[in-house]
């Protein structure tokens, strides 16, 4: 009954109705897509790097220059291990999300016919798997004999490699990865001796799989040993960052420290731009919903004032307060529903536009009912005040001329 009344009355102010329908449709389309983008960013920011993040600190230096100075790295590591609270210290390259990475596409056969997807290179001095907190889940870890230098093209000389499970399953599905080989040039192959659960590369890109990395064993060398990573207790992090940097500067006054800090801070830095975009989108969404709600409330208020007489007549004819309240709530529900129907079309159009111009997947359908529910709730919340005021209109108004 009620719906028929409402529907009959709607065409009386179709222009304003259409405006609200349009406003809700645009808000719906923006809301769904923005929340989708926010979610994408948040997923990315939550990535599991595979290392024990809260126990690591680092000091990135400009290195020691020539390879002849490599013994200085060993000296620095020994000194760092001497600091109270440092459990272990290594020099390495390829810390997850350190904002740079060396990537290569290994070949899977000696004749160089089959090529693997891009893999991020990780290399470190003895003990670096333990320092990072990586545990070998299959095969064995590196032994001291495995660590060696690098060749003319900066490729590790040591013929063994450890890969994360994700890469092993991609390269050798259903097979035992231990003993498999990858080639980085016709003459340089590496045999897989172990598998770690997970290790993420230094830099994420849309066309890279984050967890495809290859871990090599190297002695201290100029090319890959500028980054000192230490394992410490969480409460010692701040002090040891300061002390280790001071120690390194004392040892080598010409050394340059590019960056230092706890790994957790470095990780947050890596995602800061994503975080700020997510916050901005969120702020705009909230502002947008607020404006939409204010618009609905303003118009509903106006309609109530405009129809005081009709409301009075209905009340005089026996309509209860509840009936009047429901009338305005139903009206709002119908208008918002109209907006959502149009909004679904707009949402898909906007999503199509976004997928064409940005690296963004298709919007999952689940966003639509959730978005619709949100707008229905906001619409009902916005109309509640005016509707209550309408229901308070006394029947006696019918007898007065306004």
């Amino acid at each position: 009954m009620q719906i028929r009344h409402v529907l009959a009355a709607l065409p009386r102010h179709k222009l304003v109705c259409l405006l609200v329908v349009f406003e809700i449709a645009v808000a719906f389309a923006i809301l769904c897509n923005a929340v989708f983008i926010i979610n994408q960013r948040v997923q990315q920011m939550r990535i599991d790097t595979g290392i024990t993040e809260d126990r690591l600190i680092f000091v990135r230096t400009d290195g020691v220059g020539a390879d002849a100075n490599a013994p200085l790295i060993t000296r620095n590591l020994l000194a760092l291990r001497g600091l109270a609270g440092v459990k272990s210290a290594v020099a390495m390259f390829g810390l997850p999300l350190e904002n740079m990475s060396i990537n290569f596409k290994p070949w899977l056969t000696a004749d160089m016919k089959i090529r693997a997807p891009s893999v991020g290179m990780v290399a470190g001095t003895p003990g670096y798997l333990d320092t990072l907190g990586l545990t070998v889940v299959q095969g064995r870890g590196f032994t001291d004999a495995d660590y060696d230098g690098v060749d003319q093209t900066s490729k590790p000389l040591s013929p063994v490699v450890i890969v994360p499970r994700e890469l092993a399953e991609r390269l050798w599905p259903g097979q035992n990865p231990i003993g498999q080989k990858i080639w980085r040039s016709p003459t340089r192959s590496y045999t897989v001796i172990g598998v770690v659960q997970r290790m993420v590369r230094g830099y994420l890109r849309e066309d890279f799989v984050p967890g495809y990395t290859a871990l090599f064993a190297i002695k201290p060398v100029a090319a890959y040993s500028g980054l000192y990573v230490m394992r410490v207790d969480p409460q010692d992090r701040e002090r040891l960052v300061r002390e280790s940097a001071e120690l390194l500067m004392r040892l080598d006054p010409d050394m340059l420290i590019n960056a230092k800090g706890s790994y957790a801070d470095a990780r947050a830095d890596y995602f800061r731009q994503d975080a700020s975009l997510a916050w901005l989108l969120l702020a705009v969404c909230v502002a947008m919903l607020l404006v939409t709600a204010m618009g609905i409330a303003g118009l509903a208020n106006f309609w109530v004032q405009q129809r005081r007489r009709q409301i009075g007549i209905r009340r005089a004819l026996g309509a209860t307060r509840r009936d009047i309240l429901h009338y305005f709530q139903t009206e709002n529900f119908l208008i918002v529903s109209g907006g959502i129907v149009l909004g679904v079309l707009l949402t898909f159009a906007l999503n199509l536009l976004l997928t064409m111009h940005y690296e963004l997947p298709r919007l999952p359908i689940v966003y639509l009912p959730v978005g619709a529910l949100a707008l229905w709730l906001i619409g009902q919340a916005a109309v509640l005040g005016p509707a209550l005021r309408a229901s308070a209109v006394p029947p006696v108004v019918a007898t007065r001329s306004v």
């Binding site: 304003v16 340059l256 590019n258 204010m294 618009g295 303003g298 309609w303 940005y358």
Partner: protein, 434 residues
């Protein structure tokens, strides 16, 4: 008459303060968001060298293997091998031409207790400064002979001169770069094209203060300074000797002053590539010669995030305008009695229309003033973001004026519908109803 409309409008706006505040607030939020993102978008898509950009061209060729090549579709590479860059330079087909790569220079100050530091550096050839109109505070650039002679010379940026020599004329003095003593031949005035078009694809930053050290390419390479970015298209026998390796790491820019010169250069470039194909060095014949702005467009210098924000802000503004239309319309419909009286007393439709548009305009101006405040707040927020361009985000005079244009246009568009509805109302029924 106009003053009377303003008085009427103010009285009407005062009568319903909440509704007025809602309209102004919504419009201001939309305008604030739009102006903030537009300022950033404009900042990022601006012309870095307005006086010269139409004469600067970026030649591209493609030394990659045949596999994956589709004639007419595969774009040539964005950087060049040393061999090709030198061949193009030595042909001297442009008014000026220079090859460049970015690197990190470790500067060791001579003062006691001063720590060494890294500076962004450009290794390039002699024409760089004349071609890009880089202005000198003291001294000048080096010569082509210095390039060939691997002279130990540098040009430093003004800010580095301020830091090391307190801004004094330092030409002839020596600084230590990567453990070599280098003589300063020139000090630049503040110069940092935004975005740094020549750093694009060379692994450098696109915004910010600019590089601190400029040194001759051959000299820098003799000091074993390596490029920031290097792309190899075949198996590399030796990464130390990138001059002969199948690796790309240089950008080449050419100054061409007329259409004939551009056409001539393109012919030369095509010819050069065909010659390389005949020699067996190249397999692909695609070339490209984009001007500066064309190159920036192709490189999509404006980050996706910024475009996304701008699009979002416009969507938001649209909602705000629609919202204002709705509220103005509601207000105007409530005043049909008042309109009826005015019409009956002799006001023409045009006068009613004008009256309502003035009211909308006042809402717009108020929204604009508040929107400007929001935009300043938004830009303050942007300046605290970690992006490279963050510190450059300021509202300029043009954007300031643009804010009011946007506000006024938005509110007038929002006002047209209600004003039109108001002026077409027939006076008699309204008077009767009242």
């Amino acid at each position: 008459m106009f003053a009377y409309y303003i008085e009427l409008a103010l009285r009407s706006l005062k009568r319903n303060r909440v509704l007025t505040a809602l309209m102004v607030m919504a419009l201001a939020l939309g305008i604030g968001a739009t102006i903030t993102t537009l300022t950033v978008l404009r900042l990022l898509s601006g012309d870095p060298l307005p006086q010269k950009s139409t004469q600067l061209f970026y030649p591209q060729i493609d030394p990659n293997a045949k596999e994956g090549y589709i004639e007419g579709q595969t774009k040539p590479d964005s950087i060049m091998t040393y061999v090709d860059a030198m061949n193009l330079l030595q042909a001297h087909r442009g008014t000026h031409q220079a090859a460049m790569a970015l690197t990190q220079a470790k500067v060791i100050p001579k003062q006691a207790n001063a720590r060494p530091f890294f500076s962004d550096a450009v290794m390039t050839t002699a024409d760089f400064f004349a071609m890009f109109d880089a202005p000198f505070q003291y001294g000048g650039g080096w010569t082509a002979a210095d390039d060939d002679g691997r002279a130990q010379l540098v040009v430093i940026a003004g800010f580095l001169n301020d830091k090391l020599f307190a801004g004094a004329n330092s030409v002839g003095r020596v600084i230590r770069v990567n453990d070599h003593d280098m003589r300063i031949v020139g000090v630049l005035k503040p110069w940092a094209p935004q975005p740094r078009f020549y750093a694009q694809d060379l692994g450098g930053r696109s915004y910010g203060d600019g590089e601190a050290v400029f040194l001759p390419l051959q000299t820098a390479r003799a000091m074993e300074m390596g490029p920031q970015d290097i792309e190899c298209y075949a198996a590399v026998p030796d990464v130390k000797h990138i001059e002969t390796a199948p690796c790309e790491w240089l950008g080449v820019w050419v100054e061409l002053n007329s259409d004939e010169a551009v056409a001539g250069y393109k012919t030369f470039l095509d010819g050069y590539v065909k010659q390389q194909v005949a020699l067996g060095r190249f397999q692909r014949t695609e070339t490209s010669l984009l001007d500066l702005m064309g190159w920036l467009r192709q490189e999509q210098v404006v980050p996706d995030d910024v475009r996304l924000q701008a699009g979002l802000a416009f969507g938001f503004l649209l909602i705000c305008v629609v919202n204002t239309v709705g509220l103005l319309l509601a207000k105007c419909l409530r005043r049909s009695g008042e309109i009826g009286v005015r019409r009956a007393l002799g006001a023409t439709r045009r006068e009613i229309f004008t009256q309502f548009m003035v009211e909308a305009g006042i809402v717009g101006l108020a929204g604009g003033v508040l929107g400007l405040l929001f935009a300043e707040l938004g830009l303050l927020g942007i300046r605290h973001q970690p992006a490279q361009y963050a510190s450059l985000a300021h509202l300029d005079l043009e954007m300031f004026l643009f804010t009011f244009v946007v506000a006024l246009v938005a509110s007038l568009i929002a006002g047209i519908l209600p004003a039109w509805r108001a002026c077409v109302l027939a006076p008699a029924p309204q008077l009767k109803a009242a």
